[in-house]
């Protein structure tokens, strides 16, 4: 048992590193490992075009994929614990629909890539802020929060529809559609500021507090009795997870399913205690998105949208998860 657990841990944490290295090598212009090494660390002779490709294109993209995957998975773990519901992710609180509206608004206004990103981030946070404010007003129960999340999502979806309707069908509308499909295609170092800041600030705190994530699954009376300041804990978890997810989606566009399914796979592999489940989900999320982004850019002559790919893999994955959840609740034999 212990040996199996150790092997799982090694695999979980070495796989993302291997995939990160691998994603520097593969692509329309394959690069050998020694060449990539020389380019990264500026040793020996490397053609300028290879150096530019590795350092300016593939490395930021791979780092973005790893961060987005890790953040969506961590966000999923937190939201599932927070809402006592194994079948939710950040989308339930309107993060995605807020981000989509924000990005579309900036695109319609003719803003540049960085402005699109910040607008998406801002509206994602606004959407969750609305859910929290309204939810708080009506007693902050899980049910109220979920229903409010659905309402706020619906509102932003309608507003997004309005923007699409008025967008120039020649260039703006395709840009909105492309953003909604999710992609890391155009990511360069300059686009990584919000993503890297959020990841480097919040992930270490989250990992240090990973045992406390267990306490999010308690109800209010239990938490009170255990001396846990549950309101503060919930607020901190909600804020941290929301910023992680919002910063990720504002960089990648809509990438669904990772936050929903990866936490389940992590728990299946290492158990439910978040001392292990949270780090495992983070590693797994990074690995999965590196892998899928690698497939997205190499499987076909044209690049596949990442969000489409996660959807194709995610829907059957969700059915497996749903079966597992229903079985543990005795609703399915």
């Amino acid at each position: 048992m212990t040996r199996r657990r150790e092997a799982t841990a090694w695999l979980l944490f070495s796989a993302p590193l291997a995939l990160l290295a691998g994603s520097l090598l593969i692509g329309r212009y394959p690069v050998s490992l020694p060449e990539a090494f020389r380019a990264l660390f500026s040793v020996g002779e490397v053609p300028d075009v290879v150096r530019a490709l590795i350092v300016r294109v593939r490395l930021p993209r791979a780092i973005a994929a790893a961060c987005v995957g890790a953040n969506l998975a961590a966000g999923g773990v937190i939201f599932q614990a927070l809402l006592h519901n194994p079948l939710v992710d950040a989308r339930i609180l309107g993060v995605s629909s807020g981000a989509a509206f924000g990005a579309a608004l900036a695109l319609v206004a003719g803003a540049g890539a960085v402005a699109v990103q910040w607008s998406a981030l801002g509206f994602a946070l606004l959407a969750v802020g609305m859910v929290v404010l309204v939810g708080w007003r009506y007693g902050a129960s899980t049910l109220v929060i979920v229903v409010t999340g659905i309402l706020v999502s619906a509102l932003f979806a309608s507003l997004l529809g309005l923007l699409k309707y008025v967008a120039d069908p020649a260039d703006t509308l395709p840009a909105i559609t492309y953003w909604l499909l999710g992609s890391l295609g155009g990511v360069r170092w300059a686009d990584l500021a919000p993503l890297l800041t959020a990841t480097l600030l919040i992930q270490p705190l989250l990992l240090l507090a990973r045992w406390r994530v267990n306490l999010l699954t308690l109800n209010t009376a239990e938490a009170h009795s255990l001396g846990v300041p549950i309101r503060a804990l919930r607020a901190a978890a909600l804020l941290g997870a929301t910023i992680l997810v919002a910063a990720s989606i504002s960089t990648s566009g809509i990438v669904g399913w990772v936050g929903l399914i990866v936490p389940h796979v992590a728990r299946f592999l290492v158990g439910g205690d978040h001392r292990r489940a949270l780090p495992a989900a983070i590693a797994l999320g990074a690995g999965v998105l590196l892998l899928l982004d690698g497939i997205a850019r190499t499987a076909l002559p044209v690049e596949l949208p990442l969000g489409v790919l996660t959807g194709i893999v995610g829907v059957p994955g969700f059915l497996v998860v749903l079966g597992g959840v229903l079985r543990t609740r005795g609703a399915l034999r």
């Binding site: 240090l208 045992w211 267990n214 009170h224 255990l226 001396g227 158990g271 439910g272 205690d273």
Partner: protein
């Protein structure tokens, strides 16, 4: 010492008072039963005693100190609640759920250390379920889960345990196992306060009994004085027969059709 409530009045809405002038003492080394019909305010009273709800009138003190003056951590080290419902936690072992009882002794960024795991093990040992430590929490029976939940309260290290219907939904053997375990904790000096719908369990295990009738507490009495046919009829609105064996054991049987 332990937990004392004096003159508690509480209402969720101004016009609907749930508790009126309730006095109660859960003393060290004793098992105190709170009995009363559904909706008589038992769970509300427990939530007031652990400081989750603040009464509009009256005061609650734990070990002589007003509960609202204690910090959450200090309070958790003095009184622990064992709630009525305890959903299965898929993916968690029993130890991992019990060690959550140590939350008040850990900083925001720490994980349980050897001392915490030892406390969890000791709690499981005290309840006779050490063998369940590494079992999956979701695969426990209802009775085992109740014991695991009590172990979490015990791991908290508080001297007072407040339990919400710990004998509900259990077969007679498990009721006996749970209540005997609680009685042993009282023998070790702890104060045990529990709500129940089983007057017969109170006859066997209680040192004192409080009846809640329509939000008002009858005086706290020894079980033989508290559990009479008249008092039960007043509390539940149906008639009972008090049966006594030659050896002195008592039981209360509800009459057929309430008469």
């Amino acid at each position: 010492m332990s937990v004392e409530a004096r003159g508690i009045r509480f209402s969720y809405q101004p016009e609907r008072t749930v508790l009126r002038g309730v006095d109660l003492l859960a003393a060290d080394s004793e098992v105190t039963f709170v009995l009363g019909a559904n909706g008589s305010g038992k769970t509300t009273l427990l939530q007031i005693l652990i400081g989750l709800l603040a009464p509009q009138e009256g005061r609650v003190s734990v070990d002589g100190r007003p509960i609202d003056r204690l910090s959450p951590r200090a309070r958790a080290r003095r009184i622990a609640l064992v709630p009525q419902s305890h959903p299965p936690r898929p993916g968690f072992t029993v130890s991992e759920t019990v060690v959550m009882g140590r939350a008040a002794r850990l900083g925001a960024f720490s994980t349980p250390r050897a001392a915490e795991w030892a406390a969890a093990d000791a709690a499981l040992e005290a309840l006779g379920i050490a063998s369940l430590a590494d079992r999956s929490h979701a695969k426990l029976s209802g009775g085992e889960r109740q014991l695991a939940m009590i172990a979490r309260g015990l791991a908290q290290g508080a001297n007072t345990l407040a339990l919400d219907e710990p004998d509900a939904h259990l077969d007679p053997a498990y009721q006996q196992r749970v209540l005997s375990a609680l009685a042993r904790l009282a023998e070790r000096g702890m104060a045990l306060l529990l709500t129940s719908h089983q007057p017969n369990n109170a006859l066997v295990y209680a040192h004192s009994v409080v009846f809640l009738v329509g939000g008002v507490a009858a005086p706290q009495l020894a079980p033989r004085e508290a559990l009479t046919e008249e008092r039960l009829e007043a509390a539940y609105g149906v008639s009972f027969n008090l049966i006594e064996s030659p050896a002195g054991a008592r039981a209360l049987l509800p009459k057929r059709d309430g008469r």
